[in-house]
Symmetry: C2
Subunit: 674 residues, 2 copies
Amino acid sequence: MAAHTISTAGTVNEDLAKERAKCNFNIEEVTNLLDGGKENTIKRKNIENISLDSGAHIDKIPEECLGPKERYENAVRKSCVYAKIVRDEVLTMTGMESFGSPVLRRTSDAFFKEISPFLLHLGMFVPTIMGQATPEQQAQWLPRALNMEILGTYAQTELGHGTFIRGLETTATYDPETEEFIFHSPTLTAYKWWGGGLGKTVNYCIVVAQLYTKGVCYGTHPFLVQIRDEDTHMPLPGVFVGEVGPRMGFHTADNGYLGFDHHRVPRMNMLMKNAQVLKDGTYVKSAKHGKLSYGTMVFVRVELVYEVAFNLAKAVTIATRYSAVRRQCQPRPDQPEPQILDYVTQQHKLFIGIATAHALQFTGYWLWDTFARVIGEMKEGKTDTLPELHALASCLKAVSTSDAASLIEQCRFACGGHGYMASSNLPALYTFVTATRTYEGDYTVLLLQTARYLIKAWEQAEEGKAMTPTVSYLVHSAYNRKAKWDNSCEGITRAFYAVAAGKIEASVNSIRRRMKTGLSFEDAWELTTVQLVAAAEAHCRAVISDTYWKETERMTSSSSAAVRSVMRQLNELFLVYWVLERTGDLLMYSTISGKDIIELQQRYEELLSQLRPNAVGLVEAFDFRDEILNSTLGAYDGRVYERLMEEALKSPLNAEPVNQSFHQHLKPFMQGKL
Amino acid sequence: MAAHTISTAGTVNEDLAKERAKCNFNIEEVTNLLDGGKENTIKRKNIENISLDSGAHIDKIPEECLGPKERYENAVRKSCVYAKIVRDEVLTMTGMESFGSPVLRRTSDAFFKEISPFLLHLGMFVPTIMGQATPEQQAQWLPRALNMEILGTYAQTELGHGTFIRGLETTATYDPETEEFIFHSPTLTAYKWWGGGLGKTVNYCIVVAQLYTKGVCYGTHPFLVQIRDEDTHMPLPGVFVGEVGPRMGFHTADNGYLGFDHHRVPRMNMLMKNAQVLKDGTYVKSAKHGKLSYGTMVFVRVELVYEVAFNLAKAVTIATRYSAVRRQCQPRPDQPEPQILDYVTQQHKLFIGIATAHALQFTGYWLWDTFARVIGEMKEGKTDTLPELHALASCLKAVSTSDAASLIEQCRFACGGHGYMASSNLPALYTFVTATRTYEGDYTVLLLQTARYLIKAWEQAEEGKAMTPTVSYLVHSAYNRKAKWDNSCEGITRAFYAVAAGKIEASVNSIRRRMKTGLSFEDAWELTTVQLVAAAEAHCRAVISDTYWKETERMTSSSSAAVRSVMRQLNELFLVYWVLERTGDLLMYSTISGKDIIELQQRYEELLSQLRPNAVGLVEAFDFRDEILNSTLGAYDGRVYERLMEEALKSPLNAEPVNQSFHQHLKPFMQGKL
């Protein structure tokens, strides 16, 4: 292209500069709130500086320009570099407290557009050893794993089995003669599928298999299985391992398959904290059974709420900055084209994204505290709050991943054609986050788990039993069907609880009506599942709305007036948005009127206009370094068009003026010689 | 992997075979309905046989396993092969009537997962010459273009300008001395961006530029510009052309950028049907002005309604067949894991997809007939129905592309983790179709164009003027605010019109209220756009519901009883689904009650269960050859797991047991030697 056209490096887009001048609150104050305190912001920035200032994360060729093999190889190279920085520099500064922290996860996004093949080593392999191995086993394996002398992953899901863990087919049969387990995949559908890093990277693996000993099956148990030779990296005999092939995203995760043909593993590689097989083959269950390992599953779901909130914050930062730079159309002939951020429909697409990123992050914090409390109680032997936490984490995981993915996609739509460019980073954010809707518990399956808890809670409320906190609203509503409407934030959250109660009651009635016709509970339940999913979702939205509102009040209680004001506007926007999305439910289960709805529509439009001057300030409070956003449209300097062209010029197709396919195919074809 | 595990080639999955036996209607009869008659089905199959039986479409390595450059080169190779088949075999059989037909488009999907770099040659380049060149120009250019001795594309959108065509910056300045136009890109944002095939493939291009002559700008006009040397394919001097870089989809389309530095083009390369520049530089507008070229834009939008319906049909075929094969969970311990198609939540996700594919296809047919009639009238000088058609095509393009994309994604979700595998073809279907929401008119922009027409229509209804057919409901509703509810299909569509009328009225009231405070109409309009978008969407949904219902009745009037029954069930499912999605609007604008809603929820669940035995039959009536579906999950034989593994084994990462990155990076790192 012509050399004269890119010449603005080092400058900042004027419109963005004006937006920054317009912001009426202290951005750093909000950043500190979001980080959970000023000292956390300082520590985060420190870690980011150490990790990124060397420039080790920079790709010469954008990774989308590589083939899948080269892309994987590049990810391995960078994983080693990044892991070394973390091990040798970050952790020596912060100590082990940063190990696996969201800050490190956030920083790693500058290295990996999507994911490192090492992710499950730290995310699942090490935690499983910590949680399910005996102290002796931990002493043997953990030091090497933490020092990354061995690399592992976690293999549970099989080609034929995901949700239904009891249906897993891989067998581990104990042979007392040699004191070994024989691992075997009896069918194709028994092959493990999806393990991140499993395809080519790891040499060890946690394998979940059906344990057989003395002719009896004791169900699924975790084992630590070596799958590759430590020196040559060759798959061990009887181990069939490879990559599952191209995916929608996760391009650098080398998700793998794994099958066994009578592969032998020492007895002591069974993770024996919760159950053991003795030398003679006797199966012994530990006194403390597996409730705590159930806790790990909940833990991963809680983490996902954070993670998707963080990715949504990235997307809305990109789209909001771009909307300040982009100018389009001309509503009035005497004026220049407006910034697209001035269009109310654009504000409608973006501001709910900012608000939802806050709502999910605050709810995530609160869920984390709840989780920590429950774990503490469990250690003291009190496990009765675990079902509530499980029900809560299930629906929050489902709704937060689904909402975040939709809103990221909405940010992409809001950037028009340029949002479709890989260099905007919006496609990768979407394809990455949409996967979270499925893994670690599918959306529909999880909402039905929550629904099961809610139906039981409803029955307990009917019986006058004591209710746990998050379902205490059912007691009240059972006798007070239509919530009295008022337009305040408190009134709105109360009405959302009434909607949830109403939908739970309607589901209960449907199930009972069906049982009266002679159906079993399970059949009646199955026929009502569409309504049950909706009821669990309504419950979850009520909890998120309530938590976001209360946490905003609490967290901003000592903030400056300007910060409190903008945070409240955002919070109110969120609540009113969901009222307008759910008018049907509210007309059914509260006394809201058509007039109220018209007024709230006006209020919503007012809030958009109040938030407009602070929009860029609000997204900049998320405080993303350009390296982490990784976006031509979202960089701090707003050099949108220059960056789009700079990235285009890196495409390998642009390395030569004429592609070889012209000579080979195109020319003979056009000349009729093919 | 172990050789013993894949051994079922040639067999058909038992569950799928049972589904086929269960279907209670004649599948071919529905296929004929969808094709528009038995003779069309025969012709389509004939074209598919000619194109696909040679196996020329088969890739040895899945295209996702290639890097972007190799993927493009493969697409060029196959484009030449496919174009040759079409030119030499298909068209010699069918004559030119198949040229550019949906059947050819459908068949080409077996060759290109997404798109051929030649697509815009036939889709935009040739039609623009036909529509906007003079007969003399056509005689000069068309034979070479149709014979593909030259290849072209269409370049309108610029880096800085999409929606707002008047804002385009590329200039074509006439120089009477040499009788040439001087093409120039004055800024970076003036660079053309997105043209399919522009990056590396085409040698000619329709360029839309601001025409200057005698110092006056006459606005944007189309020109035919040669950009590459026909023999060497080198870009001509003053032409800067290349590929825009990786995108979310369209990986093989080599979308390009194009800039000019005082590039000279002969005067006669201006497309002169509607306007001319004489030798001396005098600008002359033709008597017949550009209404017909406006028709071309509408034509492309009408075509998109078909195209997305077709892609949705593919997705739902894949997901439904997979759901018949996949078994998961165990609601009752004494029974085997059920087919996931038996879960009501799964039916809820899929059957609306089947119904929507029908609804959009039927609406597309009807829109096509309407379009043909309007074009006929225009040729007789009657252009007053064009605004209505434009308003209709705009909202239908917006809603159909958006709905199809969401429902394709829902099909992907319904396939769990395996839906994330590229080999399912669901990711490519989504990333391809989601782009249609943006190009040829962005979702929000198009709905606002329809809204503008609707607001005018509302004012005309108030004034008692005659109304065109699709907005005649506004006359009635203006005096009859709350539609009397009844649960029949006719009652439902009537209520949907009442919702549209109610939302249009509410928007009018908002605009007027704002104008009373002193705002101009344009400012009041802008502040009301969120409501206006919703009103236009409601109008569109009413039209689709009404059309789908009436067309189902009309098209099945001479069908067998079984076919009529299943088609009506699907139609009713569609209507009831949308009632349940829009209860808030219906409670506002009709007399529907809470009791009605509960009854309709039950009716919906009944319809799911009635459709269940015919689900596989219904998707097989779309009659997709395996080559066109291109999916491990959706093939006719249901060998889901075998195909997943077969495809995985083609991944280049699986070509060698140990990837080189182990020796280069991983081993030194793990041994602490990095």
